[in-house]
């Protein structure tokens, strides 16, 4: 079982930036609590790959707004995993050539909602 605060701290340290990334998601702490140490470790390895540009982002060429930005300014990195047959998704959102702004964690329903907001799903 992984502690949510430790999980967030580890991610903040891996990303290593001055801007404060937002951790978002329905039942975020609860889902992190379901993670085994091995699964959490895999997520840290994935973050490392993202930071080192070894993981491929999705870039949507749209001028539509997403909060304070235009969608085309954002890169989205997606990490799917499952725990006890329930599928979860992480979406890590970065501003092109700049900082990471959001770390979303949720079930499929939450993922679909965020995907729509980011115009990854029409």
């Amino acid at each position: 079982m992984v502690n949510s605060d430790d999980f967030k701290s580890k991610i903040v340290s891996l990303i290593s930036q001055d801007y404060e990334i937002k951790f978002l998601g329905k039942n975020f702490d609860k889902i992190v609590g379901f993670l085994s140490e091995t699964k959490a470790e895999k997520i840290y390895v994935w973050i490392n790959d993202v930071v080192n540009e070894q993981f491929q982002p999705i870039l949507i060429a749209s001028k539509k707004p997403y909060k304070d930005w235009e969608v085309k300014q954002l890169l989205t990195f997606r990490y799917p995993f499952s725990i006890n047959n329930t599928e979860y998704r992480i979406l890590l959102v970065k501003i092109k050539n700049s900082v990471y702004i959001e770390f979303h964690l949720g079930d499929h329903k939450y993922y679909d909602k965020v995907r729509k907001e980011l115009y990854l799903k029409k």
């Binding site: 540009e53 993981f55 491929q56 982002p57 999705i58 060429a61 092109k96 050539n97």
Partner: protein, 219 residues
């Protein structure tokens, strides 16, 4: 119960009975089962689709049943036309005209390429839309779930899929849309990828947009 099987594929007899039993427990008129459960002895999920306006969650206490609720707007999609083509359904399924555009197709490609490069050879689940759309635009054929599985199985590795993309997509797009629109659309797309070429996916997509526009220039 209605069995849609236009390609005369071999549906397992006992699964038809099981499908009927599962569908009878769903309190919605338009629902159906498709996918490997109908054709394969070994399957991961029982894919049940329900067409409903209601947001109410539907639960069935049968192991491996995965219910996806479709909105009536989804009935125009290539996805719906594919999954409902060969299936076992509770009642006659509603039909709508297919509405699919090159812009939808490019959205699929735009998402499929990075996903494929991340997943590498664990691609089977993630390329379904890419193959479905490509085969549709290539020859006008809507593959059902069985045909789509068969097609995907033929790819030995992810590199072969990338080659399939490079070999087919520029030709398909050049055939399907007006040159003036094509130039405008793909020059814009290419501009978005240009400064992200440090990523393999965007580099691949950038090259692909160039292959598409080059084909226009070459007449």
């Amino acid at each position: 119960m209605i069995i849609y099987n236009p390609n005369n594929e071999e549906i397992l007899k006992e699964r038809i009975e099981q499908a009927e039993h599962i569908l009878s427990q769903i309190p919605v008129k338009h629902c159906f089962i498709t996918g490997s459960f109908l054709y394969k002895r070994k399957y991961n999920d029982i894919d049940v689709f329900v067409i409903s306006r209601s947001k109410k969650k539907i639960k069935v206490n049968i192991e491996k049943v995965k219910i996806t609720v479709l909105d009536f707007n989804d009935l125009y999609s290539l996805f719906y036309h594919s999954i409902s083509k060969s299936c076992v359904s509770k009642d006659f399924l509603p039909k709508r005209t297919l509405k699919v555009t090159i812009s939808d197709y490019w959205d699929i490609i735009n998402e499929a390429v990075p996903t494929l490069l991340n997943q590498k050879n664990k691609f089977h689940k993630d390329v379904r839309y890419l193959i479905l759309y490509t085969e549709f635009f290539k020859g006008g054929k809507i593959l059902d779930t069985f045909q789509l599985d068969e097609k995907i199985k033929k790819f030995v590795n992810y590199k072969e899929i990338l080659r399939y993309v490079e070999n087919n997509i520029p030709k398909i797009i050049n055939k399907k849309i007006k040159k003036s629109y094509l130039k405008r659309f793909f020059y814009t797309q290419s501009g978005f990828y240009k400064d992200m070429r440090n990523y393999k996916a965007q580099n691949f997509l950038y090259d692909l947009t160039h292959q598409i526009t080059r084909a226009v220039a070459n007449g």
